[in-house]
């Protein structure tokens, strides 16, 4: 799994109550326990070796930090638009997506960033009680958090520059990863989907991938900045696998609304990242060819995206095996892990697939893994 699993309708009802302030996080989280167990059962029944909690307690893969971090406030684009200069660009995006500004929320740094509580220790603690399988905990990466939450007029009271805010996230995530390692997580995945937006989000393709509210900057500078932040966040940490996940947007089944382009512009930066695994989309054709990794795997593992979370068609075991075999041309077979391209419900209220279909996709993925292990053992 990359992270998220479709939430049951009743959980979405409880999430609405939480977001409207009717119930607090603790009460919501207690109710979400049952949904986590359902998500876990689906993953275990499918035969996964590494599981997540399906992000059932999160309203999205990154905005949940507003519940856990002091200094962060969840604001809608509607509330933010008065603070951004490029209002016309946001209007274009809203029209492309055909959504109102009040529907898109972003965590914004409005004060000094400080963990009120661990970002994900509660998720991990609960999952550990109910499974013996290895646990992956996805966390929003330092670049994505910075990019999404730096809104100068609102953030500058606490931080003079975006770089200062970024360093606060680096420190916060460094402490978080250590805490999760000590609490028994096998794998922490830093989600950095906006890296593709830096490269491929041109004027006509800019998206609210993560409600990132900021001006366009030089892509090379931005990628260097992002790589430095990731490396600082993981610096000196051992005893836990750390990965970086990159995708091209995962909020719509309309491929035209998502970004397109291969990994080659990102490759030099991916090579520089001091992480164990790159968790990458490869099921979608929009991600381009695996061959860009020819001679460039650099000893890293790949979390190979082999099923599309946004399609009804269930990829066959044969197709998945074939994709993995293609990856063996560029990666050592022992370093290839199979996963979906992205989560099945990155944003709680926009599930991309029915749980039943998602389960069948995972099941074929697990069957393919067995077949591949047999062949490459």
């Amino acid at each position: 799994m990359v992270g998220s699993w479709p939430r049951p309708d009743w959980l979405l009802g409880e999430l609405k109550r939480k977001n409207s302030g009717e119930i607090g996080y603790e009460e919501f989280s207690a109710k979400a326990d049952r949904a986590v167990l359902l998500s876990l059962k689906n993953q275990e029944d499918a035969g996964l070796d590494i599981v997540t909690d399906g992000e059932q307690r999160r309203d999205s893969f990154y905005s949940f930090v507003a519940d856990k971090v002091a200094g962060i406030k969840l604001l809608t684009v509607s509330e933010l638009i008065d603070y951004v200069e490029e209002k016309a660009m946001y209007e274009r995006i809203l029209r492309t997506l055909d959504v109102p500004a009040f529907a898109i929320k972003s965590p914004v740094a409005v004060g000094e960033i400080r963990r009120k509580t661990s970002l994900a220790a509660d998720e991990l603690r609960f999952l550990r009680k109910h499974t013996t399988r290895r646990i992956k905990v996805p966390l929003p990466g330092p670049f994505m958090l910075t990019r999404a939450s730096w809104v100068e007029p609102l953030s500058r009271d606490a931080y003079r520059t975006r770089e200062e805010l970024a360093q606060a996230y680096v420190k916060l995530l460094h402490e978080e990863i250590i805490q999760l390692r000590d609490a028994g997580a096998s794998f922490v995945q830093l989600d950095e989907p906006t890296l593709t937006e830096v490269v491929y989000g041109d004027a006509n393709q800019t998206t609210f991938m993560c409600a990132a509210i900021m001006s366009k900057v030089d892509p090379k500078e931005e990628l260097t900045f992002a790589t430095g932040l990731i490396n600082d966040a993981v610096k000196g940490i051992t005893g836990i696998k750390i990965g970086v996940h990159i995708c091209r947007g995962n909020w719509s089944r309309n491929d035209g609304a998502l970004l397109t382009g291969d990994y080659s512009p990102l490759l030099p930066y991916l090579q520089e990242m001091k992480v164990n695994q790159l968790v990458l989309e490869f099921s979608t054709e929009r991600a381009g060819s695996l061959s860009v990794f020819d001679g460039a795997a650099d000893g890293k593992e790949i979390g190979l995206g082999v099923v599309n979370p946004r399609s009804d068609r269930v990829e066959t075991t044969e197709e998945i095996v074939a994709k993995a075999k293609e990856a063996t041309k560029y990666f050592d077979p022992s370093r290839i892990y199979l996963n979906p391209d992205c989560g099945f419900a990155t944003f709680a209220e926009v599930p991309l697939n029915a749980a039943e279909t998602a389960q069948r996709k995972l099941s074929n993925m697990a069957k393919a893994a067995i077949e591949l292990r047999r062949e490459y053992a």
């Binding site: 809608t76 509607s78 809203l94 029209r95 959504v99 109102p100 500004a101 009040f102 529907a103």
Partner: protein
């Protein structure tokens, strides 16, 4: 205890208007039928409008030889229609006791033939041919009720009716030397 406010509207004040309109419709007509504005030319394509104690700028985009300091007049028409729908929806929802959590109106207008404005064409006219207005509303009310409120809003919108019916414009001129 009765709520005193819904959707940001003072229910007592709203009740008074409804009561006045029911008992003395002529007074409401006298007070709210007439509206005024004055527009001062600032040079180039820029103007400033004065309405009661308010003032705002009107300009043209740089592509049209303006300075782009503010929206142009046809854009204000879209905004006026959107605002009118917003006001109408709030009024009609509040009258029914429906709480609106969030609302936006996205508008997009297409002029029949802008070339006629520039004098490059005699075909068609320079006014709007079509305006799309999409309401985004967040409310716990049923879809049926929301649709009814929306239909009432469209039917009773002063700006909407201005645009869809023939309005008699009485042009006059006074030249100073």
């Amino acid at each position: 205890m009765q709520p005193t406010e819904l959707n940001g509207l003072n229910l007592k004040k709203l009740g008074e208007i409804v009561e006045l309109g029911t008992k003395h419709p002529e007074l409401v007509g006298q007070q709210f039928n007439n509206w005024k504005a004055r527009v001062k030319w600032l040079g180039g394509f820029r103007s400033r409008a004065y309405i009661r104690d308010h003032a705002f700028l009107i300009d043209e985009p740089a592509d049209l030889a303006g300075v782009d300091t503010s929206p142009n007049a046809v854009e204000y028409v879209l905004a006026a229609l959107g605002a009118c729908y917003s006001v109408g929806f709030t009024l009609n929802a509040t009258k029914r006791g429906v709480k609106v959590d969030a609302m936006e109106v996205a508008l997009e207008g297409r002029l029949d033939n802008v070339l006629t404005f520039f004098g490059f064409s005699k075909e068609g006219h320079p006014g709007y041919k079509e305006i799309k207005a999409k309401l985004f509303v967040k409310t716990s009310a049923s879809e049926k009720v929301v649709n009814e409120i929306w239909q009432e809003t469209i039917a009773t919108s002063p700006v909407g009716n201005t645009l869809t019916r023939n309005v008699t414009i009485i042009p006059q001129i006074s030249v100073a030397k």
